[in-house]
């Protein structure tokens, strides 16, 4: 082979180039432009800005009333992360400990499927349940007669929290599942053998060892939760107003200000950056080492010969932890104090009890089994077992009931989208396709079909380009050798972790700047259209395709390719004859993921197009915001059906591939 030495140093770099260019232009540069805009002075219109440079926009955000929105967002995001963890960890353990492969796959599937159905639709379904005349109020008031007037469930902070937990629970479960799946339960036996009861075996051994998955879950929930826009908008009203709503208002309302909105986006990005930094520290290869945080504190104290009684240190630790959580949820110092006192009392109690028991301990090789501590530990085990048994029942009910209710109500004869059941009817399905406008005249079949067509065009074109670019960059990163790989890696990773609202805003600002430029040169101003939306979708889908394809490539033995080359195939023929056929299932899976994400996306489309491009999600959004016609349940049901079919096809495809 006549490969020049210079070339072999940078093999495959060229395949990264298209993706890198795309992501630099449509992802990185927009972020920098947004950063620039955030430092400019606002003008008369929301979208006007100019010099001088100022930090006023940031000052605005960190003073009332905006700062309380920021704090509320952080609080709600932390709360939803904690709740997702408390529900998600046992659920992940439940799934990964199923012995039967089919049962395990099915349990996992039940978590993944809601995650593939449209986020907007899933969030909307809570309106049916929580609304003033929603399912819960209907049951409590009219069926059971427990209350006289409807409870205020929707448009509260609690509703937002519920919606976020519902929306992001799968993000918590999946990485933890991956960690627990790899966890060797022998370790728990070893801990038991050494005298650790279930409590210690979990916190000292299992939890630290699965921490990488836990931290990944925390990040994957916290980041989208803090940048959430759809959930607080649909479920929160003014009570649950979050940063996402604040940013939207700056860009879409008359009283808004693009510089201020950009500044809010930057603040959001900084918070995301901080959480990613924490993630890097905890979930890297040396993760276990990082987990020994208390050990490090202990060592630090030991080196300085400071002795803190273990009782005191455990009281400090638990009071801080419990106090933080209680305060986060109650914002009430009295209750926080009470909780702290209770924790202290329990710890002191246990300590006194243990000291008394230790006096009974006898020396030498005879031994005593303390019946009380045996009983205590068996109760602990029983509680754990019940929790582990109850959790999946609750979780699956929680994940699936809104979907069932949505489907059920699509057959409700009532003219209201939620509320009382007035008999079975398929009239709303008929209406969708017969062009009848429903309760208000904001619906037409034609518009809907147009929206579907727009979605499909963007989806297909975007998916094809993203799949090609994503596959190329995967090959380059997995099989190539060149400098700067880490940078490409980082660039690919960012679009996934950045809140979609930030990406949408930055592209909105970017396209405005570009259009301004075009107007200055040509004199005519273009309008954002399908192409812009497709560009944005490709920008985030390259990364998702790359994740899936790279996973497949990592599993693939590079010896196949070497064998082909050994048998005389050049790189081009090696790719098409060997790599490509073996990689195809991964490529298809990546393409299906990209297509689904493209159809699912609302936030980025909404911002990039400035409302001028109506995809199906934008259309549904319009319906939900303007009066909720009864047809919406039927449309949502059809959307769920479509995405379910897509997932089933994709999983069948992957199963066949793994069998082949």
């Amino acid at each position: 082979m006549n490969v020049s030495p210079g070339r072999s140093d940078s093999r495959g770099a060229i395949l990264s180039l298209p993706s890198v260019i795309w992501l630099v232009i449509f992802f990185a540069i927009p972020l920098f432009i947004m950063l620039g805009v955030s430092l400019l002075t606002r003008g008369g219109n929301p979208s006007d800005y100019g010099t001088p440079l100022t930090l006023q926009n940031y000052k605005d955000i960190f003073t009332e009333p905006l700062v309380s929105t920021l704090l509320r967002s952080i609080r709600i995001a932390l709360q939803s992360t904690i709740i997702c963890f408390v529900i998600g960890y046992p659920l992940a353990v439940f799934i990964s400990t199923r012995q039967n492969t089919l049962v395990r796959q099915f349990s996992l599937f039940l978590v993944i499927l809601p995650f593939w159905t449209n986020f907007l639709v899933r969030t909307y379904s809570w309106q049916i349940i929580l609304g003033r005349r929603g399912v819960i109020n209907e049951i409590l008031q009219n069926q059971l007669g427990l209350i006289d007037s409807p409870l205020q469930l929707i448009n509260t902070e609690g509703a937002v929290l519920l919606g976020l937990v519902y929306g992001f629970l799968p993000f918590m479960v999946l990485p933890i599942y991956a960690s627990v799946e790899r966890f060797n339960f022998h370790m728990v036996e070893a801990a038991h053998d050494l005298g650790a009861n279930d409590w210690y075996a979990f916190w000292k051994v299992m939890f630290p060892m699965t921490l990488p998955g836990v931290v990944a879950g925390w990040i994957l929930v916290f980041i989208p939760a803090i940048g959430a826009f759809v959930t607080p908008d649909l479920l929160g009203g003014t009570e649950g107003f979050m940063v996402g709503n604040l940013i939207t208002r700056q860009f879409r309302d008359n009283g808004g200000s693009w510089p201020r909105g950009s500044a809010a986006s930057i603040v959001l990005m900084i918070m995301v950056g901080i959480s990613l930094f924490i993630y890097q520290r905890f979930a890297s290869d040396e993760s276990y080492a990082r987990a020994g945080f208390t050990d490090r504190i202990n060592r630090w104290l030991e080196e300085r010969h400071i002795r803190i009684p273990s009782l005191l240190s455990s009281i400090v630790f638990w009071v801080l932890l419990v106090g933080f959580v209680v305060y986060l949820f109650t914002l009430n110092w009295t209750q926080t104090g009470t909780a702290a006192a209770v924790v202290t009392a329990i710890l002191v109690g246990i300590n006194i009890y243990q000291r008394r028991m230790e006096r009974h301990k006898t020396e030498s090789r005879s031994y005593e089994i303390n019946p009380w501590s045996v009983r205590r530990d068996l109760w602990l085990r029983r509680i754990g077992k019940w929790g582990l048994a109850f959790n999946p029942i609750f979780s699956y009910f929680f994940l699936w009931s809104p979907i069932f209710i949505l489907v059920l109500y699509s057959f409700n004869a009532s003219r209201r989208a939620g509320g009382r059941w007035e008999g079975f009817s398929t009239v709303w399905y008929d209406n969708i396709f017969s062009g009848v406008a429903g309760s208000r005249s904001n619906y037409s079949t034609e518009e809907m079909l147009e929206a579907v067509e727009t979605s499909l065009i963007i989806g297909v074109v975007g998916t094809i380009i993203a799949t090609i670019l994503g596959t190329m960059v995967s090959l380059s990163l997995e099989r190539g050798v060149f400098r700067g790989k880490r940078w490409v890696d980082g660039l690919l990773y960012l679009p996934i972790v950045i809140p979609d609202i930030t990406m949408g805003i930055s592209l909105l600002v970017f396209f405005k700047v570009v259009f301004d430029l075009i107007e200055n040169i040509t004199g005519s101003r273009p309008f954002p259209g399908i192409a812009n939306v497709a560009i944005a979708h490709i920008a985030f889908n390259i990364s998702f395709v790359a994740i899936v394809v790279r996973a497949r490539l990592t599993d693939m033995n590079p010896r196949y390719e070497e064998a082909a080359r050994d048998l005389g195939a050049n790189e081009w023929r090696t790719f098409w004859r060997i790599t490509y056929p073996l990689l195809l299932p991964g490529i298809v899976a990546g393409a299906l993921l990209a297509f689904t994400l493209s159809l699912d996306d609302f936030v980025i489309t909404f911002f990039v197009s400035g409302g001028s491009v109506t995809t199906l999600t934008v259309f549904v959004w319009g319906l939900v915001k303007r009066g909720v016609p009864p047809e919406i349940n039927a449309i949502s049901t059809l959307m769920i059906l479509a995405s379910t079919t897509l997932v089933l096809i994709s999983s069948l495809f992957q199963r066949n591939a793994s069998r082949g």
Partner: protein, 391 residues
């Protein structure tokens, strides 16, 4: 007289199969008494229930029926973390997020031993297993042998009443395994702790254990000292599993006390020791003879005997047949294998051409008598060395 440390009374463990229709008895009515300070080996092929037995003693599995007592106290309802036993796991199960020292300290932490004392004891335990240098290393940075030592130190530091070892040397290479066998045995003697040692390696059990329980299909077939197990196996399985054995089937013709006359299929009658004097006449039985207890003489030619003495084959045969308690059977060699310490000959004897393996030690030099395949020979053994077993 030492007391009983661990006692199993008719312990049975049933596992239901996946569909729950049938149950499999992993451990079937096992009764054992393990003495204080004893090195006790549970020996058997994989799937014989030895590990399940160990796990029931440790408390990781519940018994389906029967009773387990540790120092006279029943422990069925005691979870593993309250039992005075510790385990060295087959895969060591070292906590990967802790250093060697932290691993060893873990058990003491759980006992609420003060930190400084715990550290001192852990360091001492690591010294005991000669691992002082690797104290602050994580398991991933240690060799298999080092991990094995940490696992041992981690269990020993708790001063267990009984130490359970589940094939602890299985993952080590041969040289290291031999060295560790010796070391473990020494350590056990020195510390006086009762060891229950699960292994499928008969040689390991023979070299290390004070007593061995041979298990198969969930049942204990025989319990005894290594010598008893090797020299006086009660069943064909035990004889076969421990060392190498020739089996010759026949019918019990006559018996007086433990002596029996066995008729071979070709009509030849040989005498042997009855394992069970209650065997009835006319019963089909198996005779077991170890290969090293069989000798050869050639049918023709001469044979070297003692110093500078050569006798003819005929004379040698006559000498043998004149001895009481000697069985002599003609045969033909068909293979000889050189294996260093000894020669292995495979012969067909009698009219039924029963295959038999003979091992003759390689003395070297002038004592060496070599035989060639195809040569006609006589095999002979002392009757006490042939034991009649039930199938």
């Amino acid at each position: 007289m030492p007391g009983i440390d661990v006692e199993l009374k008719s312990v049975t463990k049933e596992f239901s199969t996946r569909r729950g229709e049938t149950t499999v008895k992993a451990v079937d009515n096992v009764s054992l008494q393990i003495m204080d300070g004893e090195f006790f080996a549970l020996l058997g092929p994989s799937g014989c229930g030895k590990t399940t037995t160990l796990r029931m003693i440790a408390g990781f599995e519940n018994t389906s029926s029967g009773e387990i007592l540790i120092r006279g106290k029943p422990v069925q309802d005691v979870p593993p973390f309250h039992r005075p036993v510790n385990t060295v796991f087959q895969d060591y199960a070292l906590f990967p997020h802790m250093t060697a020292l932290q691993n060893v300290m873990f058990g003491l932490e759980m006992e609420r031993v003060p930190r400084q004392e715990a550290r001192d004891r852990a360091v001492k335990a690591l010294e005991l297993v000669q691992l002082s240098a690797a104290v602050n290393r994580k398991p991933a940075a240690m060799s298999g042998g080092q991990q094995q030592r940490v696992a041992l130190a981690r269990a020993l530091v708790k001063n267990p009443t009984v130490l359970l070892l589940d094939e602890p040397l299985g993952a080590l290479d041969l040289k290291l395994r031999k060295a560790m066998q010796y070391e473990l045995k020494e350590m056990q003697k020195r510390l006086g702790i009762t060891f229950i040692y699960v292994t499928h390696d008969q040689e390991e059990a023979l070299t290390m254990a004070d007593r061995i329980a041979v298990m198969d299909h969930g049942k204990v077939l025989q319990v005894g000292t290594p010598e008893e197990i090797y020299e006086k196996p009660h069943t064909r399985f035990v004889a076969d599993f421990i060392g190498e054995t020739n089996f010759i089937t026949g019918t019990l013709k006559e018996k007086s006390g433990t002596q029996g006359q066995i008729e071979l299929p070709d009509g030849l009658c040989v005498s042997a020791i009855l394992d069970d004097p209650a065997m009835s006449l006319g019963q089909k039985v198996t005779m077991a003879i170890r290969p090293e207890k069989i000798s050869l003489i050639p049918k023709t030619g001469t044979i070297k005997r003692g110093d500078h003495q050569e006798v003819s084959a005929e004379q040698a045969l006559a000498d043998l047949t004149n001895q009481p308690n000697m069985v002599v059977i003609p045969g033909v060699l068909w293979n000889s294998i050189y294996i260093g310490t000894d020669m292995r000959y495979i012969a067909e004897i009698g009219e039924t051409k029963q295959e038999i393996v003979v091992r003759i030690q390689n003395f070297g030099g002038r004592f060496d008598q070599r035989y060639e395949p195809g040569q006609s020979i006589y095999v002979y053994w002392v009757t006490e060395n042939a034991r009649v077993l039930l199938d």
